[in-house]
């Protein structure tokens, strides 16, 4: 079989020549627009939102999530949603969090993830990885789906 050869540039050039100046201008404008959007793509590419599961990658070094999994540097988070704070068994919480009297409602979890050290001065969790507010909401949904109790 004979290979088919395609010369798209030549075809376009021929068409442009036939169509005259107007088409050339249009082409130039189109190229400019394409270059501009390419430049925009280079300097600020589209940013998707992390799902709750993806956002949990920023938690997973310090927190296990499966039912009955061992504590890491932070406590196991199975069932944390809706529970009173500092209640995981066999985990040594900071005195500050233990005395804070918090319940892990959606609102409190949001404030905690957004700024735990400011929310409970003297608490030990360090978290500084720039999750966006809607990503934190997804993360809370993800936590709630792992043994969470109470109304969402």
């Amino acid at each position: 079989m004979k290979p088919t050869r395609i010369y798209p540039h030549r075809t376009n050039a021929r068409r442009d020549r036939r169509a005259g100046l107007g088409a050339s201008l249009l082409t130039a404008v189109a190229i400019c627009l394409a270059l501009a959007s390419q430049a925009a793509e280079e300097s600020s590419p589209a940013r998707a939102r992390l799902s709750g599961e993806q956002a949990f990658a920023a938690c997973a070094a310090c927190h296990s999530l499966a039912d009955g999994a061992v504590h890491k540097v932070g406590p196991n988070l199975w069932g944390v949603y809706g529970r009173a704070a500092a209640q995981a068994e066999d985990y040594a919480y900071s005195p500050a969090l233990a005395a804070a009297g918090l319940t892990w409602t959606r609102e409190n979890l949001f404030a905690w993830i957004a700024g735990s050290e400011a929310m409970v001065p003297g608490s030990w969790m360090l978290f500084q990885n720039n999750l966006q507010p809607d990503e934190v909401m997804s993360l809370i949904d993800y936590l709630a789906a792992h043994g969470g109790t109470g109304g969402q």
């Binding site: 793509e41 280079e42 590419p45 940013r47 070094a61 050290e117 500084q128």
Partner: protein, 433 residues
């Protein structure tokens, strides 16, 4: 780019999210500034050494890789050598060579900084970056003077400052930041750790579990963007193409790479921030020179810096005496050959510790400042630099992201490296989904 803890943490996170990752590493090993000296008895650390109990990412990496952690062996009390004169720890407060006055005389030289950090105005791990704390962005000398430290006390703190090459050029914020982190670790009432057989086992274990590929001995010279593609070129002209790039390199290494898209302001930031000068001379100790009346470890205000004894792991094995030299004191050794530098330091140690004569051999000289892929131990922030440069240094260029200990907000050291890798990985992931 970079198979230190920052780069490896980023690579591992992205790979677990289903992204194809290639790691380029300039050295022939992983670990970067984690560098256990496996060729010496007892696997002493030539780089990163302390793992705090709050180092969640580092501890998790060790545990999930079956790397055992233990508390470092205790090396006993520390003696002091002030202007060449030896002072035993018990004699410090009353010694004529103690240059301090009043109640401060009771504070050992290596405790002075801790005393200055006790009333720490920083309350959270990121307060050091808070513009409201800018009043503490001044030289450590000025801050200590404002606390009532005498010139003699300030110069003792300056003698072994780990966070700058001179005390005037060290922002107090960087010391307060480290103090805040240590205070939190102490509050946890758990020990500090090191990895059994060396901290290097941790990056090795991450690399072993990483199923992408790591290419060694690749020194990148240029990074450019072409459309949505990023092209990385090494010194041999080999090109690597990708959709996103994480540059997890210390600034002195970053300075050697031409990055086409970088702004003047960002280039200035990359150039302006200095790295701490550290030279370590590891001496092997055949048998103890120390005894109940003579400490093994010494703190000096002279060119030897600090002498840390690392006891032998097994009876009959060599112990390690690490001579830890900071700042400008490294300069005179930089001009010498490695053998010459090692012998010079060994002879000087023997001059102040004649009991050790004949018991010491030079094991290894590590000059971090001369290491082209490190350029020093870590970033030092001079007064005025945090506000100007910190954010710029991690500002992405499209899909080029920056990581490394110098970009970490909450944690210093190894944990900071992994924190920064995690942040850059999540940032890049958002652009790849």
């Amino acid at each position: 780019m970079g198979a230190g803890l920052a780069g490896l943490a980023a690579a591992q996170l992205l790979q677990r999210q289903g992204i194809d990752v290639l790691v380029l590493e300039a050295r022939s090993r992983v670990g970067g500034r984690v560098n256990t000296l496996d060729e010496l008895p007892g696997h002493p650390e030539g780089g990163a050494n302390v793992i705090g109990p709050n180092y969640g990412r580092v501890i998790d990496a060790a545990k999930s890789g079956d790397v055992k952690l233990h508390s470092p062996a205790r090396s006993g009390e520390t003696g002091f050598i002030i202007n060449g004169q030896r002072i035993l720890p018990d004699a410090w407060a009353t010694s004529a060579a103690n240059p301090l006055q009043g109640p401060m005389r009771a504070l050992a030289p290596d405790r002075l900084l801790g005393a200055a950090l006790r009333d720490n105005p920083l309350k959270t791990s990121s307060d050091w970056l808070n513009p409201r704390m800018a009043e503490y962005d001044l030289g450590v000398d000025s801050y200590l003077a404002s606390l009532g430290f005498s010139d003699a006390a300030v110069s003792l703190v300056a003698a072994n400052n780990s966070y700058g090459n001179s005390i005037q050029d060290t922002s107090m914020l960087s010391l307060l930041r480290v103090g805040n982190n240590f205070a939190r670790a102490r509050a946890m009432r758990q020990p500090v750790y090191e990895a059994a057989r060396g901290n290097m086992r941790i990056p090795e274990s991450i690399a072993q579990q990483f199923s992408g590929s790591i290419k060694f001995n690749v020194t990148v010279s240029r990074v450019e963007r072409s459309g949505a593609e990023i092209i990385v070129q090494d010194l041999q002209g080999q090109q690597y193409h990708g959709d996103a790039l994480i540059m997890a390199l210390p600034l002195p290494a970053l300075r050697n790479i031409q990055i086409d898209a970088m702004s003047e302001a960002q280039r200035e930031a990359v150039t302006a921030v200095n790295y701490h000068k550290v030279t370590q001379v590891h001496l092997l100790v055949r048998e103890p020179y120390w005894n109940d009346a003579l400490p093994a470890s010494w703190w000096t205000n002279g060119p030897l810096g600090r002498l840390f004894l690392r006891p032998s792991a097994n009876p009959g094995e060599y112990a390690n005496l690490t001579v830890w030299i900071n700042g400008a004191d490294c300069d005179r050794l930089a001009a010498m050959s490695e053998a010459e530098a090692g012998d010079t330091v060994r002879r000087e140690v023997e001059a102040v510790l004649p009991e050790a004569r004949g018991l010491l051999t030079t094991g290894k000289v590590l000059r971090w400042t001369d290491d082209p892929f490190a350029g020093g131990s870590w970033a030092v922030w001079a007064p005025g630099q945090l506000g100007r440069y910190f954010e710029l240094l991690q500002q992405p260029l499209g899909r080029i992201f920056f990581a490394g200990e110098h970009t970490a907000r909450a944690n210093p050291g190894m944990e900071g490296a992994m924190e920064s890798g995690e942040r850059a990985a999540l940032d890049s992931l958002r652009t790849l989904l």
